[in-house]
Amino acid sequence: MAKITYIEHNGKSHTINVDNGLTVMEGAVQNDIPGIDADCGGSMACATCHVYVKEDWLNRVSSKTEGEDDMLDQAYEPKSNSRLSCQLVVSDETEGLVVNLPMKQV
């Protein structure tokens, strides 16, 4: 289990415990955190679970695949710290991870 913090675009912060093995997207969806749509259900076929990973975490989460970056081309306002939260798997190593949510997903 790891503590994950989701910060909505309006600044509202949610810190929850997410079980190891779940994705950051699943943690948000299962806990009704607004701002992550996950239309495709985590199959990396859309870009509606887009998050910005806090800079100091960028090198500590698993690196993104080409397929993920391809999908991020289609996200709303992608930045260099953009990730799809369905590709971020929670483990002991992600204890304290902070992600910012974009203004909107679609």
């Binding site: 495709c40 859309c46 970056d69 992608p78």
Partner: protein, 338 residues
């Protein structure tokens, strides 16, 4: 006004198999889809990705699955209305009056929503002022390329549409191609061609840049793009094209008086009927306790919704359950010679 026993919204795998089920039990149906082709998410999002959990098909791609479902519908005459979006569903005299954005009208006792996650719409530019220029100077698809002749065009995106149009329009226009990273997801041959055109000065390529602002009074005059390192460039441009792929929006479905849960429609698990009698939802768009977003679930839901349609389409007849292996009537419908 088209009269039909059932209208299906969505030509993805669930919509296609639901049509098959309706035709097997002797009902006619028509299908509307906002995309210009049959197949839904399978064809739009993952035509080449293998799927491993279709019963009795160990492995197939989204495109193969779609082709097989279309083949399965071959014995039947089903009218597709593609590139049309259902905008209105209204009750009138116990039937549903359905209207598309192209003005096609249907009257039917049954509407089956097999709309996936809604309709596909182009992803648009983030800066708000872009909306002012939309369909005048800013486009998300090309309908008439002749308007670009001799003009300065700024194309955004990294997929095949962006690359193909950059190559095509560079013949007669001044083209800027802007993409958020160095890698393109389009075909390698197109990437090579774009690099050649960049070398010969036919295309100005800006990677790791995104749109910051658009400026102009009555017509678009210039745009500003910004890099990851906050470097800003001003580009004079007459037209802007954005190719960021398609996103899914629930769209007009939200206006039809249906009980919704987030972006899904709540149904029962006997008929897959919504809170409105004669409107059903099947596939990814429906929601009930235990719902699995799998293609196979959509097939099951469509089969049951089709039986429910029978009662409303043929109120004076009794529905008899029959197997395709033994029913003469069904074999007739399938055109099978005994």
């Amino acid at each position: 006004m088209i009269k039909t026993d059932a209208l299906i919204i969505g030509a993805g795998p669930t919509g296609l198999f639901t049509a098959h089920q309706l035709k097997l039990i002797g009902l006619n149906c028509e299908i509307v889809d906002n995309l210009d082709k049959i197949g839904g998410q399978c064809i739009e999002l993952y035509p080449d990705k293998p799927i491993y959990d279709i019963p009795a098909i160990p492995e197939c791609t989204g495109e193969e699955l779609t082709k097989n479902l279309i083949d399965q519908l071959k014995p039947f005459d089903i009218k597709f209305h593609l590139s049309e979006r259902v905008d209105e569903v209204k009750k009138s005299n116990g039937h549903w009056n359905v209207k598309t954005n192209k003005g096609t009208q249907f009257i039917t006792p049954n509407v089956i929503i097999a709309g996936g996650v809604g309709s596909f719409e182009p992803r648009k530019f983030a800066p708000k002022e872009c909306a002012v220029f939309e369909n005048k100077s800013i486009f998300y698809s090309v309908k008439d390329k002749s308007i670009f002749k001799g003009k300065a065009i700024s194309i955004f995106g990294g997929g095949d549409s962006a690359l193909d149009w950059a190559i095509e329009l560079s013949k007669d226009s001044k083209v800027n191609l802007i993409h958020r990273r160095n890698e393109f997801r389009g075909a390698q041959s197109s990437v090579n061609k774009v690099n050649e055109l960049k070398e010969s000065g036919k295309i100005n390529l800006f990677t790791k840049f995104q749109l910051k602002s658009v400026n102009g009074k009555n017509k678009l005059e210039n745009i500003e793009i910004i890099s990851d390192d906050k470097e800003i460039k001003k580009l004079n441009t007459d037209y802007v094209l954005g190719f960021f792929g398609l996103i899914m929006q629930l769209g007009p479905i939200a206006e039809w008086g249906l009980n919704l849960d987030k972006k899904t429609v709540t149904v029962d698990t006997e008929k897959f009927e919504t809170n409105q009698k004669g409107i059903y939802a099947v596939g990814d768009i429906c929601n009930y306790p235990g719902k699995l977003k799998l293609i196979l679930s959509g097939f099951h839901e469509g089969a049951l919704a089709a039986r429910a349609c029978f009662k409303l389409a043929r109120p004076d007849e009794k529905y008899r359950f029959e197997f395709t292996t033994s029913s003469k009537i069904i074999k007739n419908r399938l055109g099978v010679k005994e």
